[in-house]
Amino acid sequence: MERKIRVLVGKVGLDGHDRGAKVIASALRDAGFEVIYSGLHQTPEMVVEAALQEDVDVIGISLLSGAHMTLFPRIMELMKKNQMDDVLLLGGGTIPPEEAKQLETMGVGKIFGPGTDTREISEFIRSWTARRAVQA
């Protein structure tokens, strides 16, 4: 049987607004992914550690606290340190388009803004994984 694509959905920082993270987690599970949800109040270290242990293909970070320009770079740094170049990092939340663009230039796969259709996210992950398989 083919291995399911594994996704870690994480909430980083002190923010407790977990509606989006949970909606995404359940939508991805319904779309056939293996989903691990970190729960609340995680540090970047905790999320990256969990991603390593769970051997995930994708890390999706939900952030509504406004701390995205601090926390995403920290996560990317930790991913680099652990040689996780084959893991896709995604983000979602209240992240203004201009900063979303900056984060994408810095290496976040994509930032999904408010009002995103959850199918758009699963399609993005599938096509990314397919491309990665071709490259490998």
């Binding site: 920082g13 002190l14 923010d15 407790g16 607004h17 977990d18 509606r19 993270a21 949970k22 909606v23 987690a25 359940s26 939508a27 989903v35 949800y37 970190s38 729960g39 609340l40 109040h41 540090t43 606290s65 406004g66 701390a67 320009m69 601090t70 926390l71 209240t94 992240i95 203004p96 388009p97 201009e98 803004g113 408010p114 009002g115 259709d117 959850t118 199918r119």
Partner: protein
């Protein structure tokens, strides 16, 4: 009477067969935001079980379905209380003064996430979040700056703070003391609703039982020393933002309220000693009539329970007073100016529902905290409703509407069903521990998202009337990262300048009080006076009570 009923039924059937049969519906689902189907038409048969005197009554009289005051907004408009807070205490102090100059009548403070979680600005977990979602307050010194030049005997201040509410209240009492204002003159509200934190907003620190004990401490202390203070604002707002339906918001919020009543009574207080100082905070979402019915039902349920179940004798204990905020989660990042319109309708529902105080969201809140410009339009929206469209000229103008009265009763019944479920689980705290609320809310949020993705629910600019290649053309407020640096330096200076012997002494006294299960308010006020920081006080209490982690469910 029965022949009349038969006549209605007969006539209605005839109408359906003849007149209505000639018309076809649009291919749409007709339902509330809670996915409850809505009939094509409501009529006298839908309110035949409602008794005007028993269920509706006169405004200002039991069961207060039509409002808690006899003349409502003819007597006094609602308080226009815009939530504000960002950056340092000095930044927010300026915004407060700006809002007061533009006609706002009460202050409402938003704290940043570290403060909400009881952490100082220099806590490692606070990095990147200092002053971003609200104002950073780590000690009495910050609080002094926040209210500099604002006379605390003249304004009422609402503080959206929960886990560390007792500490922020202690800071406030100390600032007043420095201004020469006695605690008996302080008016305002601490949100102080810890139960909804476990249910929805998730900014909790301690396990539920000691948290409830601290809430009861504040109720007891205020009843004696700060009698005009609203000790808890029992909040459905965040329950709704987390994705609940209107009925869930109504039921869970009231269930929380009754849990506080029971806790304070169990601690030996008489219901009439504290109930007049309880207030509520609801969300106003997009479904206009459902929201109005929710507010009317809330008042009726509360009045009935407070009088009949808890034996309150004081009429003030029967009256549910509430603040309303329009639904942040209903706003879209796409075509943000549409949010002004959404907010106006939501605000109107709050007013028609009889709110005592209102916050209107700003058009840019899907992206960041509001700019001054966006905050002003939001305030102007309230002023237009108050003065230009005539809805404040008469009390509860929708009473007697077949639809509104039917919905009000239906919501009351659905809330009662939830109360029974919660009771069967052993009450609010056991239900929290079993993840009941969290699962119900997550399921409702998922359902709402499904409806949007299946286009059963149309959101303008998101799944219909989309503008391809839309560019966001509004200014967005950015918090300068130097706020964090400045705040950390201020804290360093404070720690160097204060009397650290006094700090250690008062923290020790706090610890002893917690261990001996005494009321924490007096030692917290002593700690505040000695300039202990928020994080220092919380850490002492963590040592006694432990911390809380939730089992993640999705």
């Amino acid at each position: 009477m029965s022949t009349e009923k038969n006549k209605f039924e007969q006539e209605r059937e005839r109408w359906e067969r003849t007149t209505a049969a000639q018309y076809k519906d649009r291919p749409a689902k007709f339902m509330t935001t809670s996915s409850v189907p809505i009939n094509e038409l409501y009529g006298p048969e839908d309110i035949q079980h409602i008794d005007y005197f028993r269920d509706i009554g006169f405004p200002g009289e039991f069961p207060y379905t039509r409002g808690i005051h006899a003349n409502m907004y003819r007597g006094r408009l609602w308080t226009m209380r815009q939530f504000a807070g960002f950056g340092t205490a000095a930044d927010t102090n300026q915004r407060f003064k700006y809002l007061l100059e533009h006609g706002q009548t009460g202050l409402s403070t938003a704290f940043d996430l570290p403060t909400l979680m009881g952490r100082d600005s220099d806590d490692p977990l606070a990095e990147g979040e200092v002053g971003v979602c609200g104002v950073a307050i780590s000690s009495l010194r910050d609080m002094e700056i926040l209210f500099d030049g604002i006379p605390l005997d003249k304004v009422s201040t609402s503080m959206t703070i929960n886990s560390p509410a007792a500490i922020l209240l202690a800071f406030y009492i100390c600032v007043a003391e420095k201004q020469g204002v006695p605690p008996a003159k302080l008016r305002g509200t601490t949100q102080n609703d810890i139960l909804k934190e476990y249910i929805a907003q998730k900014e909790f620190i301690f396990p539920p039982e000691p948290s409830m004990k601290i809430v009861v401490d504040t109720i007891k202390y205020c009843a004696e020393h700060v009698p005009e203070w609203n000790t808890i604002s029992i909040s459905g707002y965040h329950i709704r933002e987390a994705g609940s339906t209107a009925v869930q918001e109504l039921a869970f919020t009231l269930a929380d309220g009754f849990a506080y009543v029971e806790a304070a009574m169990a601690a030996g207080m008489k219901v009439d000693e504290f109930a007049p100082r309880l207030s509520f905070f609801f969300n106003s979402h997009l479904d206009f009539f459902e929201e109005i019915a929710k507010f009317r039902a809330a008042r009726r349920i509360y009045a009935r329970r407070m009088r009949d179940k808890y034996g309150a004798k004081d009429e003030r204990s029967w009256k549910l007073r509430f603040h309303t905020q329009t639904a942040g989660c209903s706003l879209t990042g796409q075509q943000p100016f549409n949010n002004v319109v959404r907010t106006a309708f939501e605000a109107l529902a709050g007013v028609l529902g009889g709110t005592q105080s209102l916050h209107t969201n700003s058009l840019d809140e899907t992206w960041a905290l509001p700019t001054e410009f966006a905050a002003k339009i939001a305030l102007r929206t309230q002023q237009i409703i108050a003065h230009e469209i005539g809805v404040t000229n008469t009390v509860d103008p929708l009473a007697g509407s077949y639809f509104v009265e039917h919905l009000t009763t239906q919501m009351e019944q659905q809330a009662e069903e939830y109360f029974q479920k919660i009771d069967a689980l052993g009450g609010v705290i056991p239900a929290i521990k079993q993840g009941f609320f969290q699962r119900e809310i997550a399921a409702a949020a998922r359902q709402y998202q499904h409806e949007i993705e299946k286009k059963e629910r149309i959101i303008v600019g998101v799944n219909a009337y989309v503008e391809a290649e839309e560019k966001l053309d509004i200014p967005i407020l950015k918090i300068d990262p130097k706020v964090e640096k400045e705040q950390i330096e201020n804290l360093k200076r404070l720690r160097a300048e204060r009397d650290n012997t006094k700090v250690r002494q008062t923290l020790d006294q706090l610890k002893t009080a917690a261990q001996e299960d005494r009321n924490l308010m007096p030692p917290l006020i002593e700690c505040s006076r000695a300039y202990c920081t928020l994080g220092e006080m919380i850490n002492v209490l963590k040592g006694v009570y432990g911390t809380w982690r939730e089992e993640p469910v999705f």
